[in-house]
Assembly symmetry: C2
Homo-oligomer: 200 residues x 2
C-alpha cells in the first residue's frame, strides 16, 4: 500500500495538487471525508467537528496542561477520533492521498511519502483570492493574518502529534515550492517522483 500525505501552508495549493495527484495515480483521496468520519464517530455535526478541530485546537494547545480537565471535552474527543480515522484509513490497505491532519506523523509506521507544499506570500494571496470567494473583499493584510493563524494551528497540532517541528524539512520526503508555478504542470512530475520513491 502506498500512502502519500500532504502537509501544506495555507494557500500554497497543497489541496489542489493532492486531488490531482490522486486522480493521476488512481489513488483514493481523503480530505473532507476525514471530517465526515470523525463526525460520525463522535456524534457531532461536521460543522462542530471543523470548529473543534480547527479553532479550538489552538486554544487547547495554548492551555496549561493542568487546565485540560476544565476544557471542552469534545475537543479531546475530536482529536482522538481524528487519529483513529487516519489509522482506519491505513487499515483499508489501499493506495491513497491524505490531506493534512498530520497524516505523515500519525501514519509514520506505514512509511508514507510525506510531501510539504509551500509558497511565497504573494503566490498564496493570489491562490486564495482565486479559489476562495469568502476572501474576495478582504485586504492583503487580513488574508495574511488568516494565513498565519491557520498555519500556526497546523503547526501546533503537528507538534502535539509528533513532537517535531511542522515545516522542518527533516519531517518530509519532498518539499515543493509552488511560488509562481502553474500547479497543473507540477502534478505529473510529482506523481512520477512518488512512483519511483515507492519502488525503492
Amino acid at each position: 500500500m502506498n500512502i502519500i500525505t500532504i502537509s501544506r501552508e495555507f494557500g500554497s495549493g497543497g489541496r489542489t495538487i493532492g486531488r490531482a495527484l490522486a486522480e493521476t495515480l488512481g489513488y483514493k483521496y481523503y480530505d473532507k471525508e476525514i471530517i465526515q468520519e470523525i463526525a460520525k464517530q463522535v456524534n457531532l455535526s461536521e460543522e462542530e467537528v471543523m470548529k473543534l478541530s480547527e479553532e479550538n485546537k489552538a486554544t487547547f494547545l495554548q492551555m496549561p496542561f493542568e487546565n485540560y480537565t476544565g476544557m471542552d471535552r469534545r475537543s479531546v474527543d475530536v482529536l482522538r477520533a481524528q487519529r483513529q480515522v487516519l489509522l482506519q484509513i491505513a487499515e483499508k490497505n489501499e493506495n491513497c492521498v491524505i490531506i493534512g491532519r498530520s497524516g505523515g506523523a500519525i501514519l509514520g509506521d506505514e512509511h508514507p511519502l510525506r510531501l510539504f507544499i509551500y509558497a511565497d506570500t504573494q503566490t498564496k494571496l493570489d491562490n486564495i483570492r482565486a479559489t476562495q470567494e469568502k476572501y474576495a473583499n478582504s485586504t492583503d493584510k487580513q488574508i495574511i493574518r488568516t494565513m498565519k493563524r491557520i498555519d500556526s494551528i497546523r503547526a501546533a497540532y503537528f507538534e502535539l502529534v509528533s513532537g517535531e517541528q511542522w515545516g522542518d524539512r527533516n519531517n518530509y520526503d519532498l518539499c515543493i515550492n509552488t511560488s509562481g508555478c502553474a500547479m497543473k504542470n507540477l502534478v505529473k512530475p510529482i506523481a512520477d517522483y512518488a512512483v519511483s520513491w515507492f519502488e525503492d
Copy 2:
C-alpha cells in the same frame, strides 16, 4: 537557458544526483570546473583555491569586520573570483547544472531551479563511507563532526552571499530528502520535474 543549482548537505548525495541529472537532461555540469577556473583567474593552484574557499572561509566569516583588512588577501580574491566564475557560466547561455557555491543565490536573476538535497544522519554516514575512501578508518563520531563543519561552512558562505538562511525551504524550489533512497531512482523524476518547471 535553464540553470539548475544544487545546494546539499555533506553526504546527502547531491553531487551524485547533480551529475546524473546533467547527463539525463544533456546539460553542462559544473563542479570541480569552477575551482579550476577560479585557480586560473587568481593565479593559484587548485589545492590552494580549495583550501582558501573551504577552510579559510569559515575563519573569514567568523572574523569581526574591522579585522578583514588583516586577513589573507587571497581568501577575498578567491571568494570574489568564485562569484565571477558563476556569472561567466551564466553568460554562456547554456543549460547547466551547478553544484554548490551558492549558485542559486548568486544567479538569482537568471531564475535557476534551486534544489536542496538532504538526508538523515545514517544515510549520510553510509553514503560517505561508500564513496569517500579517506573516511574508511574514521568513527561515526568523527565523520559526523566533519559533516557539521562542512555544512556550517556552506551555510556561512550562503548567508554571506544571500543574506538568507542556508537550508531554509523558502530559498529553494524543491527540497529532496534522500534518506534510504536509491539515488538512481530519483534522477528521472527530478529531471521530469525540472523540465515541467522550466516550461512554466
